[in-house]
């Protein structure tokens, strides 16, 4: 045998297709590992810069995309003077109350129902079909029914938001019941625990991570549905503000409203993540 060719260096494609060797402290081949903080900062900065650039250079008309400084100015103006004779804080408070009112209601009813569905085949058999039936329907589709049945005041708005988060919260709590290991349950029973004690001391605590995740998902659906709910004869609220501004082509108010809704939703999500770290530090570790 003869050594005819020197070993070929792999081509660019081959090198890209392979996992990179790791630095000390990392594990080879873990999908998507690495710190993304500075990249995210750069990404946001670039988007803001492009936004500023295309508006300042006049490439896009303010009617379509107003400049960032115009949106900011609008925010200050509405903060000081209000919008359609209602102060900015009242718009915000109205929407927040609608979403969180519906959220509290959905948790109070949905969490016990979900846990009961996880525990009892009878309750699961009864409630699974209606929940699975309405869950994939977009809230906008049953909005007319809400209006016909419950009128155009607060009830139908809160109910619409409630329904949008009810299903994910029920399903989260229901699947959380399965988190307890059978050994944990057997251990409790072997100490003479009753079914209720097993529920209280084993199943409920072990379902906490899934319950918290379900609450996060649920509130997300709530904010998504807010604007739909405030299409119904509303005179206040962030969704109403965005909708009526769009009718007068006040694009800067629309964009500002979007940012305010996003800011509230993100703040709440951060609070939930903080709670998660405090309440279930053991999540995924045992």
């Amino acid at each position: 045998m003869t050594l005819s060719k020197p070993p070929k260096t792999p081509g660019l494609v081959a090198r890209l297709a392979r996992a990179r060797p790791t630095k000390p402290g990392e594990i080879y081949g873990v999908p998507g590992q690495g710190n993304t903080f500075w990249l995210s900062v750069a990404s946001v900065a670039t988007m803001l810069f492009v936004w500023w650039l295309v508006t300042t250079l006049g490439w896009v008309k303010p009617l379509f995309v107003p400049a960032p400084q115009a949106v900011l100015a609008k925010f200050v103006q509405i903060w000081n003077e209000g919008f359609t004779n209602t102060s900015f804080l009242e718009h915000t408070l109205t929407s927040t109350l609608r979403v969180f009112g519906a959220f509290v209601l959905a948790c109070l009813i949905g969490l016990p129902l979900g846990l009961a569905m996880g525990m009892s085949p009878t309750i699961r058999g009864i409630f699974d079909p209606p929940i699975e039936f309405y869950r994939p329907i977009p809230p906008l589709a049953y909005l007319p029914l809400m209006i016909i049945w419950f009128g155009i005041d607060e009830t139908s708005k809160v109910l619409l938001i409630f329904l949008s988060m009810f299903a994910p919260i029920v399903l989260g709590a229901r699947s959380g019941v399965k988190s307890a290991a059978i050994e944990q349950i057997h251990a409790a029973y072997s100490f003479g625990a009753t079914r209720w004690q097993v529920m209280r001391y084993v199943i409920l605590p072990s379902a906490m991570p899934e319950i918290l995740t379900a609450m996060r998902v649920g509130i997300g659906f709530g904010w998504t549905t807010l604007v739909a709910a405030e299409m119904v004869a509303a005179t206040k609220g962030l969704g109403y503000m965005v909708l009526s501004a769009s009718q007068f082509l006040q694009t800067s108010v629309v964009i500002m409203g979007i940012f305010v809704i996003a800011a509230i939703a993100i703040t709440f999500d951060l609070v939930m993540r903080f709670l998660e770290r405090r309440l279930v530090p053991w999540k995924g570790r045992m």
Binding site: E183, Q184, A187, S190, F191, G192, Y201, P205, W282, R285
Partner: protein, 262 residues
């Protein structure tokens, strides 16, 4: 304390078009006060089924189980179980895990902490009372599990491969610790293992089980754990000619079963 298993069989009903499976067939076994009974056998021989029967998680298809002449009809605090893993409650710290059984029984906090602390000391976990259990090593987690089982003062300890997930060195230390505690508390123990050496070293009685159907094929009385308790070092016990001879004998039985399966 006396546990009597009399002509017990367990048949799992037919499923997916397969014939019914006889998990256990005609088991007779008596466990007396202070005995350390070890069950050993190829996988599928019904060791865990037998433990679940004694624990009350499973009822027999035929035959009777009695504990102190009362039939076993469900789980109860007179039979404590130590699992291989996943049985601690990660939202509780060490002392609350150890005191969990007493909490279930409605013992006031101060009293159950006092009892828990005794067993925490016995298992060498002092100073870790408020540590979260998910931060402990596997060996320490198992010690928490054993302490928890002991706090309710059960008549018999049921141990389902409690050391199976530990590394070799930790495992040998844990074996000695369990024997020490067995000697101090005088509890009866039913212990499942896959390791022949562990079975011979720890038990006063060894039952060897075979699969299809699950049954007890051999019973040996063992002197080795008494030798260790009499002061002989563990390594010396395990290196003695009698120990090695019996180990080879038992290994031959088990390998014959495994080959019969294949």
């Amino acid at each position: 304390m006396s546990l009597n298993i009399d002509h017990v069989s367990v048949v799992y009903p037919a499923a997916d078009g397969r014939a019914p499976v006889a998990a256990l067939s005609e088991i007779n076994l008596a466990i007396a006060e202070g005995e350390f009974v070890v069950a050993l056998g190829a996988s599928g021989c019904g060791k865990s089924t037998l433990l679940n029967l004694i624990a009350g998680f499973l009822s027999p298809s035929s035959g009777t189980l009695t504990l102190d002449d009362r039939p076993v009809i469900g789980p109860g605090a007179d039979r404590a179980v130590v699992f291989q893993k996943h049985a601690l409650l990660p939202w509780l710290n060490v002392i609350d895990n150890v005191a969990f059984g007493l909490q279930i029984q409605g013992v006031p906090k101060q009293e159950r902490y006092r009892t828990a602390n005794e067993y925490i000391g016995l298992l060498g976990l002092d100073g870790f009372q408020s540590s979260p259990v998910y931060k402990l090593s596997g060996g320490m987690q198992q010690r928490v599990g054993i302490a928890r089982a002991l706090t309710c003062d059960p008549k018999i300890l049921l141990m389902d491969e409690p050391l199976g997930a530990l590394d070799a060195l930790t495992r040998e230390k844990a074996q000695e610790l369990i024997l020490k505690i067995w000697g101090q508390t005088g509890k009866s123990v039913f212990f499942i293992t896959h390791s022949v050496e562990e079975a011979l070293f720890m038990g006063t009685k060894l039952i060897v089980m075979s699969p299809r159907p699950g049954r007890i094929t051999h019973v040996f009385d063992l002197p080795f754990s008494r030798q260790f308790q009499g002061g002989a070092p563990a390594r010396q016990v395990k290196a003695s000619p009698e120990f090695i001879a019996l180990r080879e004998k038992v290994l031959n039985i088990i390998f014959a079963d495994e080959e019969a399966v294949e």
